[in-house]
């Protein structure tokens, strides 16, 4: 069933470039979904970050008994340049941990101050950061 090639519209090109741009951002999905959450739980001890982070954008998921936190960590020139909280499914609202991404960037470490009254959320946040940084170090 031969078809004559047709001129594609502008939107098709844009949709293709969107996929390329997302891949170029360097998301690493080595342990997606439930696997990542399972692995990250139990590895929540704060730790300093080594100097050997690869540049890229990394997704991390962390879990505590109160729910999950999803983060994106951007590494530029070996340093944590941005931290986003993508989603929080804990029973606590996100604003109780809203200060933590800036702390991670400032201190370049996951040793954030646990937040009083929201230990579950901050524990899950730290686990999510660690899961993301493990990929940056791997």
């Amino acid at each position: 069933m031969a078809r004559k090639p047709r001129a594609s519209g502008e939107l098709l090109l844009l949709s293709a470039s969107a996929v390329l741009a997302v891949y170029a951002a360097g998301y690493v999905l080595t342990e997606p979904g439930a696997a990542a959450i399972g692995q990250a739980a139990g590895q929540v001890a704060p730790a300093s970050v080594g100097a050997h982070l690869r540049d890229g954008t990394y997704l991390g998921a962390g879990q505590s008994q109160f729910g999950s936190v999803f983060v994106t960590v951007a590494v530029e020139q070996g340093r944590i340049s941005q931290v986003w909280i993508n989603a929080v499914t804990t029973t606590f609202p996100q604003n109780v941990i809203a200060s933590l991404p800036a702390e991670v960037v400032e201190r370049q470490t996951t040793a954030v101050d646990l937040v009083s009254g929201a230990t579950g959320s901050s524990t899950a946040f730290v686990a999510a950061i660690r899961a993301a940084l493990q990929q940056a170090q791997g």
């Binding site: 078809r3 502008e10 949709s15 891949y23 998301y27 986003w84 993508n86 499914t89 996100q94």
Partner: protein, 290 residues
């Protein structure tokens, strides 16, 4: 997305590769869900007048949605989330929880959103809720498809939005039925697809009172009533997803014209069961509708 995703691989693939393909759906949903107050897109809704640096997934989804909005003169509009909330479409189908954004304007349009491609920032100029529902499922499918590119023969089905690559296990193009909107047990037609996506939109999926449903014309605030379903076949799932929603809002004539202009194929079924298609649509069908 609150959608069941299945990936059917004809041939050999690594489990890790398929896991990564599924991972894109979790990632895209965590970024873009209008039903999670703390998702990146919902936090963006609360910051007005200030450029916000966003992740690549969110930026690309919004950039594409904005281009479709411009192309359709606002018949498709990602700023429609506040209006959707006001219409009661704010309950997560997964958790049952409602999300409301009291400050968000139901009158916001895509013209209130500014993108800065160089810095990957988004600025919203009035309180609004972005609804990326008509692009992100397609984007996740396209991202998963690229993950599986080396497999060649596979199909990804995310709640009826399908990307079919290569051949089915019988060595034939994948056969995808288009559900009949009035008779759920029947199909309108069966498509034979290879290396393309197919997405459908219709008011039948989530009906509401008074003939209203979950697709709203952003320009009027009402559910469009001419069509009962649209189906688009395109090389990209994000394109097929957005075009089927836009065409549903625009109606048969303008909708089919839009699909044709973008180099895709489409099918529109009206309330009186009149069928309109692009010139190339039936070449993709195994058998025309009875």
């Amino acid at each position: 997305m609150d959608t069941l995703v299945s990936i059917d691989v004809a041939g050999t693939s690594s489990e890790a590769m398929v896991e990564r393909a599924f991972g894109w759906f979790a990632l895209v949903e965590s970024v873009s869900s209008r039903f999670e107050r703390e998702s990146e897109v919902m936090r963006l809704s609360t910051v007005v007048g200030v450029p916000v640096r966003v992740s690549a997934v969110l930026f690309e989804a919004v950039r594409f949605a904005m281009a479709v909005a411009r192309e359709t003169g606002g018949a498709f509009d990602p700023a429609i989330g506040g209006l959707m909330e006001a219409r009661g479409f704010n309950r997560s189908y997964r958790t049952g929880r409602r999300v409301t954004s009291p400050a968000a304007s139901a009158r916001a349009t895509f013209r209130d959103i500014e993108l800065d491609a160089a810095n990957e920032t988004i600025t919203v100029h009035r309180p609004l809720v972005l609804d990326l529902g008509a692009v992100v499922k397609g984007l996740a499918i396209d991202l998963a498809a690229r993950e599986l590119a080396s497999v060649r023969n596979y199909a990804i089905d995310a709640g009826g939005d399908v990307y079919a690559s290569g051949c089915n296990p019988d060595g034939q193009p994948w056969r995808v039925g288009v559900r009949h909107p009035r008779r759920p047990a029947e199909v309108c037609c069966v498509l034979q697809l290879s290396d393309v996506a197919v997405c459908s939109s219709g008011g039948y999926a989530r009906p509401a009172a008074g003939g209203q449903h979950h697709i709203i014309d952003p320009r009027t605030g009402s559910s469009p009533s001419e069509l009962i379903s649209t189906t688009v076949v395109a090389p990209s799932a994000m394109l097929a997803d957005a075009l089927s929603t836009a065409a549903f809002v625009m109606g048969a004539a303008a909708g089919i014209d839009l699909i044709e202009r973008q180099g895709a194929d489409g099918y529109a079924l009206s309330h009186n069961l009149h069928v309109a298609t692009t010139h190339g649509f039936w070449r993709r069908a195994a058998a025309p509708a009875a």
